[in-house]
Symmetry: C2
Subunit: 602 residues, 2 copies
């Protein structure tokens, strides 16, 4: 497997030109996020990711996490790498200084998170889950809960988990059967949870589980679900660790990928009941979960990007090194396969999609920063509107596209791609989880359709699309022919998305089945277009940077690099935005065939 090297040039470029880092650094509380500091953060994180975390990736896949005598053992090296991460302060990057965080923008943290995910998907999941626990406790915990649990979660001395799924309650969380029995001012939790990522580990002395359960006698369905904090080891009032709680990992799943990540079946309360503390209000657990949903879904989208970046680096290195066959134009024998046009096409496809995903992830994180920190409530509201709209797109589009890129990465390797030792196949296997968890991509598409488009009558979508349309006109006027072509392709794609949105708004209220049947193609059209918009903006910025030379005011990467960015954006426009008309036709100009068959006709 090729070593991972953080793509710091593109990260800096996208943070500055796409995510709007200069503006974010001007927000109150983010003043420290200067260009120099961010550069240093990216370089340092890149070093740890490349030198420590990345090299464990293949071995983690081979060894896998195991459950031995009731204890999870992570693959060799995972624990040490985790503590280097904690000691470097990397777990605390985006959190508020009041709780021990470094208070850096989420946009910057997203770039850093991408590095962990790209270096080692399995390993990166533990800190990713901790973020969710911190957000939930921070938003809904009591002052005592915050004081007791947050500091060590923020440093990473303890880790966090999310416990939603049960065997009969997957996407339908409301069907869960875990119950909580009142026991003084706390609760006793009984039940089994499945698919619990890093439900146990051998890194830290405590794990803080957030568990959804129904308080005895509570309403059925989602309205009777409460959120509980259930520590692996109880925490005394003085912060020391007390008794072991009544919970344990029962078994680990045997999975297609992310073998290094222990996916636990967790048993709560097999004896007296696991001690749990209510987070937020009774029966309000789903709302508490939704608080952290935007962040969690953004992070999974970033994981899709990250695995794609790793697959791309692997394929690129192979294509540059492996010699095979003749140059089709010159006849030169035994050339590196990057010289073959179809290999080149695959590489460009991987590169363009990966850069498009990066642009979308960082941009979205930047909107989150504005939504959280901007002094003007109207500006915050507008950013939150964009954020809510984009979150399902980031999650689903980046994870679908990430799988697509990893699939292509295998193909670049030819026969070697099918051999596990090569490492390309692992990326494909690892990437496959992302479209499934944190709400399947079908659920994301229905979230986009139902909550983000139909609920407000398309208002936030219209605003967002108008911004893209306006940009497309500007970009189409560029003097650079490739940049102008990006603008024209974007304009056509935005128009297709507008028409598809209009169709959804016309169809949804009267025939939700039919609208929902097209929700995934609609999300794909949305994602392709937004990715193309941000790539076109990047190309326009690269044209300016490139003209100013590598030492110009924004000379990220240099003139050659800027020229490559423009060609990559043009490739995106030609080969990905070109699909928009077909997606529109598939949505708005198709018979009602999705639901046409009776169940017994399948």
């Amino acid at each position: 497997m090729t070593d991972y090297r953080a793509p710091v040039d593109d990260m800096r470029f996208v943070l500055n030109h796409v995510a709007g880092l200069p503006g974010i650094a001007a927000l109150p509380g983010y003043e420290e996020a200067t260009g120099d500091l961010v550069d240093a953060v990216l370089d340092e994180a890149g070093r740890l990711a490349g030198e420590v975390v990345g090299p464990l990736n293949r071995r983690g896949d081979e060894e896998g996490a195991i459950l031995e005598n009731g204890v999870v053992r992570t693959p060799a090296g995972f624990r040490d790498a985790y503590w280097k991460f904690v000691e470097g302060g990397w777990n605390s990057v985006p959190f508020e200084p009041e709780i021990g965080g470094q208070g850096l923008p989420w946009a910057v943290n997203t770039a850093v998170s991408e590095m962990w995910g790209a270096a080692n998907t399995s390993w990166s999941l533990c800190p990713m889950l901790t973020v969710g626990a911190i957000e939930a406790i921070g938003a809904h915990g009591t002052e005592d809960q915050k004081a007791r649990y947050l500091p060590k979660l923020v440093t990473g001395e303890w880790t966090g988990t999310m416990n939603l799924t049960e065997p009969h309650a997957g996407s339908d969380v409301g069907a869960l059967r875990s119950k909580a029995v009142r026991d003084g001012d706390r609760f006793r939790i009984h039940g089994q949870k499945i698919f619990i990522t890093f439900g146990d580990q051998d890194y830290t002395e405590n794990v803080i589980h957030l568990v959804l359960a129904r308080i005895e006698g509570g309403p059925q369905g989602v309205k009777g679900i409460s959120l509980f904090l259930v520590p692996k080891v109880l925490v005394n009032d003085d912060g020391t660790l007390g008794q072991r709680n009544d919970l344990r990992p029962v078994s680990l799943e045997h999975k297609l990928g992310i073998h290094g990540s222990p996916t636990c079946v967790m048993a709560y309360g097999e004896n007296d009941g696991a001690v749990g503390y209510l987070i937020g209000e009774e029966n309000n657990g789903m709302a508490c979960m939704f608080t952290m949903m935007n962040n969690a879904r953004l992070n999974v989208g970033v994981a899709g990007l990250a695995t794609a970046e790793r697959a791309w680096q692997q394929a690129r290195a192979f294509a540059l090194e492996r010699t095979q066959g003749r140059d089709i134009a010159t006849g030169e024998p035994n050339v590196p396969i990057v010289r073959h046009p179809d290999v080149r096409r695959m590489l460009m496809d991987m590169k363009a999609k990966t850069e498009g995903m990066r642009a979308l992830c960082y941009y979205t994180a930047g909107r989150m920063d504005v939504a959280r920190k901007h002094p003007d409530a109207e500006v915050r509201k507008a950013a939150q509107s964009d954020l809510d709209l984009l979150i399902p797109v980031v999650k689903a589009w980046c994870t679908d596209t990430g799988c697509d890129v990893a699939f292509t990465g295998v193909q670049v390797h030819g026969g070697m791609g099918f051999i596990e030792e090569t490492g390309a196949a692992q990326h494909m296997r690892d990437a496959r989880i992302h479209p499934i968890y944190e709400g399947t991509n079908g659920i994301q598409a229905n979230d986009l359709l139902g909550r983000k488009i139909l609920r407000d009558g398309g208002e936030s979508a219209r605003t967002f699309l108008a911004g893209m349309a306006s940009d497309s006109a500007d970009i189409a006027g560029s003097e650079n022919a490739d940049v102008a072509a990006c603008g024209r392709a974007l304009a056509a794609s935005v128009q297709a998305l507008e028409q598809a949105t209009a169709w959804m708004l016309a169809t949804g209220p009267s025939d939700i089945c039919r609208a929902s049947a097209h929700a995934v193609p609609y999300l794909t059209l949305f994602g392709n277009t937004v990715g193309g918009w941000l790539m076109a903006r990047a190309a326009a910025a690269a044209a300016v940077d490139g003209a100013n030379g590598p030492d110009g005011p924004n000379g990220f990467g240099g003139a050659d690099w800027c020229a490559a960015k423009i060609k990559t954006a043009r490739f995106y426009a030609d080969h990905i935005l070109s699909r928009s008309g077909g997606l529109l036709a598939s949505i708005a100009d198709s018979g009602d065939t999705v639901m046409a068959l009776a169940e017994d006709q399948f």
Copy 2:
């Protein structure tokens, strides 16, 4: 893992209405292929595939083939199933009676092959490779070679392999280093071959290896390659087995999928040299290999279809059984997930693509039958022209689409899809090999472009496309609204394909790099369109059958079944043919970005 049940209704329908079985059965030599006989063949093969071969699939994946003390051991049950297959005469179905075959049409054999592949991809590869050996020996062997080796290969008492690849000679076979040293009227072979499917097994007492090697002193490159027959055990003049030959499996590859299939590194001639017999003329090995290429590539295309069929059956069963969530329209709780529009969309997508692949595979096999058996040389020539054109499309499009279907199959299962015990992930892993071997799909696309489109100035393509255009006009005139819509979508898609073909013909001669850079999207457009053509023809036939009732002259499956076929074809038209315009734009209306970056800009 869900049991496999051969889709005999669709197979019969496609054989009769798409592949033209009635016409094939009228060809000299195929008179026995009556409807009744074919029905019996399908039923019997379906029983063996469903009851014996299919249930070994999951276990084969878990156990895998192993190499122990120099001997390959296949997973438990594989050997017994193989001998049931041999004893049932299934290995000999398509071969000429002169060599012990049953002389059934290739179209029928393709349906039967689909069953083995769907039941158990790994297990099916051994007989698939034997077919190639039989074809090569049959076409190029001496009378003695034919008499000595063919009878037992045809029955399946011995198996065959193909040895092309070496560590530095993958797609570029001409770079191989294995050498052949003259030793009287035979040769001694020395060299190492990799990726040898079923290079050894514990089924049969002999394995007949076909090995590409360079005769000492022969020309470099592909022009110095010869084909050798190298038996695992030498065969005496009286047909009894003699000495063990100097060859052995050195190791097995650790692969992403097809774990039950031993993929061997083979060493030839570590001692005195492996005894090999020249097949065909010296230095003409590549031509001999190409003889069987059409057949082998058709078979791999069928394997893509087969794995998709299995993945589809698995996803369908899960979607009908698994309950989760509310009906989005009625609010009914805890419904089977097939009621959710997006799950339904995924199922329709899998079904439409799988049926489209089946139509293409059987149709192409039917053209092979006509090309081999028709009494009129002109008709044979026309069929051969179609066949040559379609072979790379079948191989690449069916294997890419097969991966796509298996990927969707995982998604239908949600979290369970990622758990290996479910079985959905295995199909995705197994399917991944098909786009790689027997010439990567990039090579297929370049074959389509270079040898099949450019070489004859587009003549055979134009003839073929004209036939589709004419059919589309007929079908668009149907009284059935869905069938007519299929015809209209087909007409637009054929037009896009015509324009893309014209672009290739205009671009290729002057700029082969640029043409080649778009060869894969061109092949995808070709495959989507041909699949849509045959689905539209199927829909038109189903409209007639459906109207005539289940007891009508062609009442395959019954009226409900015919209605489902029509809706499935309409889904294909709406959601797959709709992409043709985008593919055309991507090919003919794009900047020259694929080759735009210098190697150091990656």
